[in-house]
Each structure stands twice: as structure tokens, then as C-alpha cells.
């Protein structure tokens, strides 16, 4: 157990030092470009809704669409083959090459053929295969795997690529600049394309009604691969089928913006193969025989053959899986990788499985390669949810990761040390669950015990031997400060003190939700929240309600989280009936109410709680907008540097905190990193401590020298405490009287 964790930590440390620094800046800049492109495009959100609806319907209708597609491609003069699995697909393509006597084959970039390992099959069949996308070309020469689904060679520096090309081709003048290398590759690969017998491309979309397909590219190699050789083979997953070209619009508008931040890629090709364009035989001295450029119809050129290979390879099963089906809506844009702080730090060779990388890879790998491949990296998703905003088809990527984690937990072998945490864990989970997961998943119970025995529990937890044992057995990294439990909880404090605004004088009544951190550890931010609300004439209640279930959910303990959700709803429903608002300090708890409870509670209950719930600064903002005076609040320091919580960002909460601080007279500077890196328990874990600190460094750099730094999430506060030294308050502590 412990040595596995150390191995994982060592693997990630290696990537943090080698590939991470190369890939990080490139994907971060694509991420910023995506924000800018979405900003420039007014209909970003509504177009995402359209795209989502089209994919949902298309996957629902997949069997019918598949048949319709087969008929239309065949009517156009092409051939369709549906391959059950990788071996089946590879067999079809290699046999086709054999029949045609094909010696060389050129390919444009396709993750699906990576999934199939088609190149290996072609090599075994004696077909010389050339990748013509420059990134894939580099990877093929280096005999490596893609580190990013859109930019396969992003982990390589220009110098490394130059060394590779110079060593492989020994050009007269060594290649050095990007221009020289591009020109060299263009010429070399151009020749390969001109002499190739078969061209293989992927397909970004396939249209059932007309048998058309679309390719979205920048380099132009896919166009050449499709149009130059006589035989074009398109290999793609069955999930790429859309009903008709009428459905193409939202995807044209979204895919490039999401992928690279370009408004549109250089080439968006729509083919209805076999195409009318004449084939090109570069060995012939005869003039090309052109037909009519303005013909009424573009009928296929007689010399052309087209094969569409549609790959199942686990997709039908994914389609039947209610929890993971969404994976099939994915259009492989890579935005979830670019927006992910952990991906930025280690790249796709760390945050990825056999073929796919980034947040959605968990779904793809579980579907096409199996749970073992998903298990390799699934823990790297911290549930920060930044990819949720990035995804052009609105896939709930964190949920897919949670579901796979839950299933992995259930498959795990019972652990001999279970008894150590059994006393802490009234959870609903199987006994094989990893101890660290069980420990962190039962944080509420741990906090309750810790608080009841504070300060002794804190002293014990700090003691060297205890930390060593925690690391060895539970995987809690000894370099990380542990939370310090408070003897007096927020609820106890409030019980003694009672509400300070009389019911008759109150403008509103609210429940301050005591999440486990605010209740047991960061009690001061809870008290500050109570004082701020009361200063604005809100009658506050702080009932004893269970923790939100965020802690177990992030360990993949879905049943336990669901149990929390039922208790929380039961504990708050009557307050909501009494017209009270629910005010939440901890953004990760609010995100449970607003996002995940949809999946854990009856729909009406989830809606009701979500509608009644507000983040504390959002609520204060509302009070100020409705006539409350900032003068009633305290005065914050003149300048505040504020880091919004990742899940808070996804809920668009940052503007409220900024507005309230400004209304109270502060000038505010905000960070633009996606996540602090701590992400609940993630940064405590021995395997991930260094990755967590690495991700946090960027935030620390942005705030270096700032006199006052504030945050909203417990994790962010802890992480910034560790990185900057000193105590980082919650923003509400800066404005509470």
C-alpha cells in the first residue's frame, strides 16, 4: 500500500520535473484563449445547450442512425464496416490494404486509431504507415504516445524535436527553428502523401442522412490524405454519428473555440465520399482529367474507393450505462485537459490511461480499455469542476470520475487494516475501500471526535510518531499541516449565544449551514458570517445538520454521500418551509446543493434546496442590493488579493465576493488559476502532496507580496496558509463587523 503510494508520487514527481513544465504553459495558454474565444462569441452558452441536445438525441437514436448511415454511404458508392473491437477494425483495414496491394499508407491525426493501435497492426501486415499531422509525426518518430488528445506532442520542446529530426534524417544543414522543421516535415510528408496507396483519416462528425463526414484541422494534411490516394479509409467511433448536416452548425461554432481558442479552425471539411475530385497520380505525366467545376451534381470520381470503419469497442456498453453514457457526447476537443490544474502540471502521460488523457479520459478508458486503465489516473480528478464550464457539450466530467471511483472502490480487495478506521466510519461502502479514502470520506466523524477531544487530539496528531504512522498506514503526507479541531463548535457557540436579531425586526431569516469545516475547524469564519448577516438585519439560525457529503463523494463513496444528502435535506426542509434562506460558507458544500444533489435526491427536493441556497457573499451582495448599507459592515483592508474557489468559479460566485469587498471600500485583485491544488483531501495524500504543492505554486506566485490574501474555500485557505505562511481568512471575515 505504502510503497504503491510512493511509486505513484515518484512517477508524478518525474513528470512534474520533465513533461509538466513543457506542456503546462501551452495548455494554460490554450485555456486562456478558450475563455477569450467564448467571450467573443455571444451565443456560447446557448450553442452549448444546442450541441448537448443534439448529442443526447443522436446517442439515444444510435442504432437507427447507424443503419441509416450504412444505407446512405452505400448509396453514395462507399462501404461501411462496423467493427466490434480493435482487433476486428484492424483486421478490416489490414485486409483491405492487402487486397489493394497497398505498400504505403498515410494517416491524419485520429485518436480512435490510437485506441485501436492501428499503426502496430499495419506494421505487422507489412504496410509502411506515415503519420502526417506534424505532432503525430513527432510522436511516431519518437515511438511515444500522445500526451494530449489534440496536441499529441505538446510534451516535447522545440529542441527535442530538432534533435529527433536531425538524428533520424541527418539533413545536410541541421534543423533548428520551428519554420525549418515545419518546412522539412512538409516536404518529407508531402512526398509520402503523393506516393501513398491508401489515405486514412478520422472523422469528427458523420452524418447519417447523407453519408457525409466532417474533419476539423489546421494543417491541411487530412484534406490531402483524403483526396490524394485513390482509397480513403475513415476510421471513427460509432458515437460520432449525427442525424444530418443540419445538425452541424453548433459544432462548427464550438469545436475550435473549445479546442484551441481559434474562432474556427483553418479547415472545416465536409465530405460526402467518394468525392468527385479527380484522383492524383503523381507518377503519371498525363494531364489531370478534370470534370465540370460547375456541374449540377458532384458524382463520385470513378477511380475512388471509400471505406467508413465505425468502431464499437465498448461504446455500445457505454451507451447502456446510465452513469457513463455522457462520455459518448464528447467531441474530443481537449478543453477539459486544458482547464485542469492537475493536467497542466503533469500532462497526459500522468493524467491519462492507455490512449486518452484529461478529465474525460476516465470515461473513455473505462469504456474502451477497461477499469484497470481508468484506475491508473482516476484519482487525479479532484472534482474541482472547472472542466464543466469548458466542455462544449456540457458533460459532467467530475461526475464520471466519481462514478468510476465508486466502482473501483467496490472492486477493491478488502484491506487488512480496515479495523483502524472502522470506528470512524459509519459509511455505506464496501470493506475493500482504500484506507485513505475511508478516512477522508468520513471527515465529519473524524472532525466530531477531534473536536470532542481537542486540544489533545491536535497535540497527538502533531506528534512525530503519530504522523509517521498516519503516513505509513493511511497515506496522509507528514509534510502537510493537519486541520486543528476546535473544542467549541460553531453550532455550540451559537446555541449558547442565540440569535441577535429579533424576529420582528428581521428583514429576512436565514439558516447558516454549518459545514463540517466551518463547524469544527474554521469556526471563526462561521462566526463572522453570523455577525455580517445580523448586521444587515437577518435573523440567523445555526441548526445541527449533517455535513454535505462532499468529503465522501470526492473519495468516490457515492452511497455515503447520498446518505448525507438525505439527512441534510431532512434537516433543512422545514427551515425552507418556514421561508428561511440557506446560507453556505463553504463553496464545495454549496456546489453539492447546487450540482451533485440533483443526482442524489428526488428532483423536486434537490431543486427546492438549490433554489433556497446562497453562498454567503452572494447573499450579502443580495442584501446590499436590496437596501442594506455597507456601513453596517466592517471595513476591509484597502487592498485585498482574492482567490475564488474552483467550484465557486463554476457556480459564478467570484463576482459577488469582489463586489461586496469593493462596496465596503477595498480594491480587489483576483487570481486566474483554475484551482489552488489542495482540493479537499487531495493535497493531504502522500501520492499527491507534491503535485498539489506544484499546482499551488502558481497561485502563490500570483499573490507574492500581497499584504492581505483572502479565499473562500477551506482547501484554498489551507493551501494558501501553507504556501504563503500566516493565516488566510475567508472573505466574509474581512467585512464582518
Amino acid at each position: 500500500m505504502s510503497s504503491e503510494r510512493k511509486q505513484k508520487a515518484a512517477q508524478l514527481r518525474h513528470l512534474l520535473e520533465t513533461e509538466g513544465p513543457l506542456i503546462g504553459p501551452k495548455v494554460s495558454s490554450k485555456n486562456r484563449d478558450r475563455y477569450a474565444a467564448a467571450e467573443r462569441f455571444d451565443a456560447w452558452d446557448s450553442t452549448r445547450d444546442e450541441a448537448r441536445a443534439i448529442k443526447e438525441a443522436a446517442i439515444a437514436d444510435l442504432p437507427e442512425l447507424l443503419e441509416q448511415l450504412r444505407e446512405s454511404v452505400e448509396a453514395n458508392g462507399g462501404t461501411v464496416y462496423v467493427a466490434d473491437d480493435a482487433a476486428d477494425a484492424n483486421r478490416y483495414v489490414t485486409e483491405l490494404c492487402d487486397e489493394q496491394g497497398a505498400e504505403t499508407l498515410v494517416k491524419s491525426k485520429s485518436m480512435t486509431t490510437e485506441e485501436l493501435e492501428l499503426n502496430d497492426a499495419l506494421a505487422a501486415a507489412g504496410v509502411d504507415t506515415y503519420e502526417t499531422d506534424l505532432g503525430e509525426f513527432v510522436i511516431q518518430l519518437a515511438e511515444e504516445s500522445p500526451s494530449h488528445i489534440v496536441g499529441p506532442a505538446l510534451h516535447k520542446s522545440r529542441e527535442e524535436i530538432a534533435d529527433l529530426l536531425n538524428a533520424t534524417f541527418e539533413p545536410d544543414e541541421p534543423l533548428e527553428t520551428a519554420e525549418e522543421m515545419t518546412r522539412f516535415a512538409r516536404d518529407y510528408l508531402g512526398e509520402r502523401i503523393r506516393e501513398a496507396d491508401v489515405g486514412v483519416t478520422g472523422a469528427n462528425f458523420v452524418f447519417a442522412e447523407s453519408g457525409s463526414m466532417a474533419l476539423v484541422t489546421n494543417e491541411g494534411n487530412a484534406r490531402k490524405c483524403a483526396v490524394t490516394p485513390d482509397t480513403h479509409v475513415a476510421v471513427t467511433g460509432i458515437e460520432k454519428i449525427l442525424p444530418s448536416v443540419d445538425d452541424f452548425g453548433p459544432f462548427v461554432d464550438l469545436i475550435s473555440k473549445a479546442a484551441t481558442g481559434q474562432d474556427i479552425s483553418r479547415y472545416v471539411s465536409l465530405f460526402t465520399p467518394p468525392v468527385a475530385s479527380p484522383t492524383l497520380d503523381f507518377e503519371s505525366d498525363e494531364p489531370i482529367e478534370f470534370g465540370e467545376a460547375t456541374a449540377e451534381r458532384d458524382d463520385p470520381d470513378d477511380d475512388r474507393a471509400f471505406h467508413l470503419v465505425l468502431v464499437d469497442n465498448g461504446r455500445t456498453e457505454l451507451r447502456e450505462d446510465d452513469q457513463l453514457r455522457e462520455t459518448l457526447y464528447c467531441i474530443r476537443c481537449g478543453a477539459c485537459s486544458n482547464s485542469c490544474a492537475n493536467f497542466q502540471a503533469v500532462g497526459g502521460h500522468g493524467f491519462g490511461g492507455e490512449t486518452y488523457s484529461g478529465g474525460i479520459a476516465t470515461g473513455w478508458e473505462a469504456g474502451v480499455h477497461g477499469m484497470d486503465s481508468a484506475a491508473e489516473f482516476n484519482d487525479l480528478c479532484t472534482g474541482c469542476s472547472r472542466c464543466v464550464d469548458a466542455c462544449p457539450v456540457k458533460i459532467d466530467i467530475p461526475w464520471i470520475n466519481t462514478v468510476v471511483r465508486d466502482r473501483l472502490n467496490r472492486d477493491a480487495d478488502p484491506d487488512t487494516f480496515d479495523h483502524l478506521v472502522d470506528g470512524l466510519s459509519p459509511d455505506e461502502e464496501p470493506s475493500g475501500l482504500a484506507l485513505d479514502k475511508r478516512l477522508f470520506g468520513n471527515f465529519e466523524r473524524l472532525a466530531k471526535l477531534g473536536s470532542a477531544t481537542a486540544p489533545v487530539s491536535n497535540w497527538l496528531a502533531d506528534a512525530g510518531p503519530a504522523r509517521a504512522a498516519m503516513e505509513r498506514v493511511l497515506g496522509v503526507d507528514r509534510r502537510r499541516d493537519l486541520p486543528r479541531f476546535r473544542r467549541e463548535t460553531l453550532v455550540d457557540w451559537f446555541d449558547d449565544r442565540g440569535p441577535r436579531v429579533a424576529a420582528d425586526d428581521a428583514s429576512r431569516e436565514a439558516v447558516l449551514y454549518p459545514d463540517a469545516y466551518t463547524n469544527y475547524v474554521l469556526v471563526d469564519r462561521g462566526k463572522a458570517a453570523v455577525r455580517a448577516l445580523e448586521a444587515l438585519d437577518v435573523r440567523v439560525h445555526v441548526p445541527r445538520v449533517r455535513s454535505s457529503g462532499r468529503a465522501p463523494l470526492s473519495q468516490g463513496m457515492i452511497s455515503t454521500a447520498e446518505d448525507h444528502a438525505h439527512h441534510v435535506y431532512a434537516g433543512l426542509a422545514e427551515h425552507i418551509d418556514a421561508g428561511r434562506d440557506v446560507v453556505v460558507v463553504e463553496p464545495s458544500a454549496l456546489a453539492m446543493f447546487e450540482r451533485e444533489y440533483e443526482r442524489l435526491l428526488a428532483p423536486e427536493s434537490a431543486d427546492r434546496l438549490a433554489d433556497a441556497s446562497y453562498e454567503v457573499m452572494e447573499y450579502v451582495y443580495g442584501l446590499l442590493e436590496n437596501g442594506g448599507s455597507p456601513d453596517a459592515l466592517g471595513s476591509p483592508p484597502e487592498a485585498v488579493a482574492y482567490h475564488s474557489h474552483c467550484q465557486g468559479r463554476t457556480l459564478d460566485l467570484e463576482p459577488y465576493t469582489v463586489a461586496v469587498l469593493e462596496a465596503c471600500g477595498a480594491t480587489v485583485r483576483t487570481s486566474d488559476v483554475e484551482c489552488c491544488g489542495m482540493a479537499g483531501s487531495f493535497g493531504y495524500k502522500e501520492s499527491y502532496y507534491e503535485l498539489s504543492m506544484d499546482v499551488g505554486e502558481e497561485l502563490a506566485d500570483q499573490f507574492a507580496g500581497e499584504p492581505v490574501v483572502a479565499a473562500s474555500g477551506t482547501s484554498c485557505q489551507e493551501q494558501l496558509d501553507a504556501l504563503l505562511g500566516g493565516e488566510v481568512p475567508h472573505a466574509v471575515e474581512l467585512i464582518a463587523p
Binding site: 513527432v138 520551428a178 503523393r194 483526396v227 472545416v268 465536409l270 465530405f271 468525392v275 470520381d301
Partner: protein, 167 residues
């Protein structure tokens, strides 16, 4: 701002140069716009290619051509794209192989948005003209450690916009 203005602005943003001309002046405009040797697809508008643009040539002459002239069947103002039809006339390879692509576009064929273009594409597909590429600027890559224009496709795109003669 008209769609034409928007389209021309979008071309500027992409570093795509352009000429504005009339049908009568088109051959002369094209003669100036091409770099020799030039190959071309017979135009979809009522004008001929200048004599310097070959319409009969071998594949290796296509490979060696400096300029390819093709019809652009549509322009998209939102993106600065030209839509190249993959006809039997060879629009696709001629817009792809030579380093300079000169696209001849009737100003009446400029639409405002990508969505308008997809609507048009759908009607083309239904009419049996099912293969087109929305080409936006020069071919590009960042795979070699820096952004480079001119990869497998052209590194220069020039649009010749044919407007109605106002005289």
C-alpha cells in the same frame, strides 16, 4: 457595417489579403494576383481566367505551381472563411497544393455567420453537391514548437471579391 465590410475585416484579422474588382476587370485583377507558375479551375462567375493561369496540367505541374486559383462558392463574414467546393473541376487540390491560393468570390455570396453557411451547406448536400471545405486563412501548425503558417496547405491566401459594376 455591411456583411462585405465584416468579411473584409475578418480577412484582415487573418492576414488574408484581398482585391475588390468587377466582372469586367476580373481577368486583369487575377493576372496581377497570381505568382507564376499558376494553375486554375474554370470560374463559376461569367469571366475567364487570364492566359497566365493554366487549366491543363499534370500532377507534378500542380505540385510545382506557385498559385492555385479556384472559385469560392461562399464567404463567411463571421469567420473570414471561403467555402471551396470539392468538384470534379479540382477545386480541392488546387486550393491545397500550391503555396498561394487565390479564391474568387462573388460579393453576393457572402453570408453573415457560420450558421448561415451550414444552412447553405445542408442545401448543397441535398442537391448532390456534398463536399466542401470552409477554409479560413493559411494552413498552420504549432506542433514544431512555435506557430508556423504554411504546412501541408497554402501559406498565403488571397481573396478576389467580385462586386457588381456600379457605373
Amino acid at each position: 457595417m455591411t456583411v462585405t465590410d465584416d468579411f473584409l475585416d475578418a480577412l484582415d484579422d487573418l492576414d488574408v489579403s484581398h482585391d475588390r474588382t468587377t466582372l469586367a476587370d476580373l481577368p486583369a485583377t487575377l493576372a496581377d494576383a497570381v505568382t507564376d507558375p499558376a494553375v486554375g479551375v474554370p470560374l463559376h462567375v461569367d469571366a475567364s481566367l487570364p492566359g497566365s493561369v493554366a487549366t491543363t496540367f499534370t500532377p507534378s505541374e500542380l505540385q510545382d505551381a506557385a498559385t492555385g486559383v479556384t472559385p469560392a462558392r461562399l464567404g463567411i463574414a463571421e469567420y473570414g472563411s471561403v467555402v471551396i467546393r470539392s468538384s470534379a473541376g479540382g477545386d480541392e487540390p488546387l486550393s491545397l497544393y500550391p503555396e498561394r491560393h487565390v479564391a474568387v468570390l462573388d460579393a453576393a455570396d457572402v453570408v453573415a455567420t457560420g450558421r448561415d453557411a451550414v444552412d447553405w451547406l445542408a442545401s448543397e448536400v441535398a442537391a448532390g453537391r456534398g463536399s466542401h471545405v470552409l477554409a479560413t486563412g493559411a494552413s498552420a501548425t504549432a506542433d514544431m514548437g512555435g506557430l508556423v503558417e504554411g504546412v501541408h496547405g497554402p501559406n498565403e491566401v488571397h481573396v478576389v471579391l467580385v462586386e457588381a459594376d456600379t457605373e
